[in-house]
Symmetry: C2
Subunit: 426 residues, 2 copies
């Protein structure tokens, strides 16, 4: 029986702050980084599971240390039983009472578990010779709910309700899978909208986005109201009336400020308002949602766990749920969030960008389409054109859509030479 021989970590950082790529109202100078892990085994297939946590620079070493703290749980374990019961594997990590104290179920330790879980999923998909989205979409409803920890969810979603949802979505799976392979999944682009870009660059990138086939762009806002009005005007003139424009405040506002500020921007036609305030503030988002309706509120990239997702949905505090591949405890917890969103009839439009987030999260959106929500209506995956060249299977965007990946794995494998070249302090 093959066993796990190592969790091999790396502190990978890219100096993106030099070009102000990724600059927004709360994050003026991010250095896109990955706390990276490779799960190695002694199987003779030479397959390696890759996972990571996306961070924006300082503290990436702390995130790496948290991943290393999981070695005692995984190294020496037999590979097959771990991968055969990914629900149990998830619980064994998340429910370790001593590690749990460090969150609980949030922040550095929880994200570290996510990296390890995602690396195991990458390994499992590679062993199966399938892309993760197809591996997941081929599971039975029972196998899918076995992946999910319903603790703390049952007042909103029980295992039985989840089973019913998944069973109802079984007809048409094959057809939807074919549709994805033929025409991909809709994307929107954030590339034009970083706060650090000047007006000319904004305008040029807006034109390029439309030419590239995108039907939605997103602009960062929340630094200065006059700037936001000017930049939204430029963007709206550049893209015309038919392209959707979302705005993203990256948690910049208090509740009252958010409502007042957004009211000044609605005349430009907003597809949604993203992260208006603290990602922990369910009640605040609910108040903002009521005040700015029918403009939707979108959030999720900093949502700590499924318990927050449950409450945002219960309270109608968001109208678009933006799951993130590396914020929560990996694929399993994101499946819980997809099921919750399906229960409440809320569209999921994943957060992406950063390092490798597009590569990873596309699998979850495509799985959702085939096996959970069964629809792409009102759904799209964020796309940012950064750092894809460092991955072995970079995302492919054609005519504003993600081309469905066919390579085995979870999309999370970074090139060995990129890891070496960008290891911090290395």
């Amino acid at each position: 029986m093959a066993v796990i021989t190592a969790l091999e970590t790396a502190d990978v950082r890219f100096p993106t702050s030099l070009a102000l790529d990724g600059s927004d109202a709360m994050n003026p100078d991010p250095d896109y980084s990955a706390a990276y892990v490779r799960v190695r085994t002694d199987a003779d297939d030479d397959l390696v599971g890759h996972g990571f946590v996306f961070t924006i620079g300082r503290g990436n070493d702390v995130q790496v240390a948290a991943i290393e703290a999981l070695a005692g749980h995984l190294v020496g374990q037999e590979v097959e039983p771990l991968l055969a019961d990914m629900g149990g594997t998830w619980r064994s990590l998340v429910h370790d009472s001593q590690l749990r104290w460090l969150g609980p179920e949030k922040g550095v330790m929880h994200m570290a578990i996510g990296a390890a879980v995602n690396a195991l999923w990458d390994l499992k998909a590679k062993r199966a010779g399938r892309p993760l989205w197809q591996l997941l979409a081929a599971l039975s409803p029972e196998e899918i709910v076995d992946l999910v920890d319903f603790r703390y969810l049952t007042d909103a979603l029980t295992r039985e309700e989840a089973l019913d949802l998944l069973t109802a979505a079984e007809p048409g799976r094959a057809e939807r899978e074919k549709q994805l392979l033929e025409s991909g999944y809709p994307a929107y682009t954030t590339t034009p909208g970083w706060l650090g870009y000047d007006d000319a660059k904004l305008e040029r990138l807006c034109h390029e986005a439309v030419e590239a086939g995108f039907t939605q762009i997103k602009l960062k806002v929340g630094g200065d109201l006059a700037d936001d009005v000017r930049r939204l005007g430029i963007a709206r003139r550049a893209v015309g009336p038919d392209i959707r424009i979302a705005v993203d405040a990256n948690q910049r506002w208090d509740v009252g400020d958010a409502i007042n500020w957004i009211r000044e921007l609605t005349r430009f036609g907003l597809a949604w308002v993203e992260e208006p305030t603290s990602p922990d503030d369910v009640l605040g988002h609910a108040a903002i949602s009521r005040a700015i309706a029918p403009v939707p509120v979108a959030t999720g990239e900093h949502m700590a766990n499924r318990v927050l997702a449950k409450q945002f949905l219960q309270q109608r505090a968001l109208q678009v749920l933006q799951i993130d591949a590396t914020r929560v405890a990996g694929v399993n917890e994101n499946i819980a969030m997809l099921l919750l969103a399906a229960k409440f009839g809320v569209p999921v439009c994943p957060h992406a960008g950063g390092v490798g987030l597009c590569e990873a999260v596309q699998h979850l959106a495509m799985f959702d389409f085939v096996a959970v929500s069964g629809t792409i209506d009102g759904r799209m995956i964020e796309f940012v054109d950064h750092l894809h060249e460092h991955f072995t299977t970079p995302v492919v965007i054609e005519d504003g859509r993600y081309v469905a990946p066919t390579a085995p794995g979870a999309g999370t494998e970074m090139l060995a030479e990129s890891i070496s070249a960008h290891t911090f302090g290395g």
Copy 2:
């Protein structure tokens, strides 16, 4: 001008799991630990600021790594300006955008900032030659609100409202300070109630608690309903009808389970039900509060930050707020939580126990009495009789009350020989 020369960290662990001290329904075998930091300066006073994060074992090394990640922010800084503007110092740490990504404002990185902030407060109080509670209680209302970051709070509490609260509490400060010095602050004890103790030990410790002058004890529940019923019966018979008995489920239940389980226990007369479910579940706690009223719900030891505290209070989801000295970003954020509780008229009964939590949190409760809420009605500080001997100024309990500390500092200083003797792997 003196500068900070080092953040000296230590991974301190005590093997408490051997005696099942601290065992509860979610944490069967904690090893009480401290991710410890000493802030050293080159001042010729030789004073050192001490702080820590309480953890329960595995992962304490990750927490230490997070504290070390703050060295770049503090080492080399001039001491006086840092300590003179503790509000600004707090912001410079919490608002570092790159570190903030690792929470935001929650989990390992946020608690690390709390340890550093608390160490600076310890240093500041030692330099002033006063215990922290008296140092804080001598500040003007303006100086106190300057310590607080009102970001994300203003829909529930503005700076001006906080100023009004503090100004209204100014008369009587001297009298309340005198009262504390004369007769201390009420305590309750959790010592009898750990799940791992057998019935005879439970009964004996209940008797001892009453003899020691405590008017409230707390029992861990949530493992097995029949056991809980039996143990509560033993405890109620042992302490008689006039001693309050609180129960603590340590997040064991889902919302529906909590309501059903608690209904089986209310006949024993419950002072409060603590941590019935996930500490992130504001709406869940609100539902439980409504269902079990008039039995109060208490929570807070795992409350990630002031934004959660705000929502729990807005939603009437708790009736007792249990701040913790090392869960949030230190003294400043706990002051924000004291102000929120005062605004909503909710009593604060701090969580303590663990390693050094009693020593640290008593200062916040005493400051609250003198300068914020102005009352001890319905308030008490948790007391657990563990590991106090490792501190230079251990808490003193007389007749069921915390004796007000008079030694300079924040109570957070562990004996150098204890640190050395219990350094993990050392």
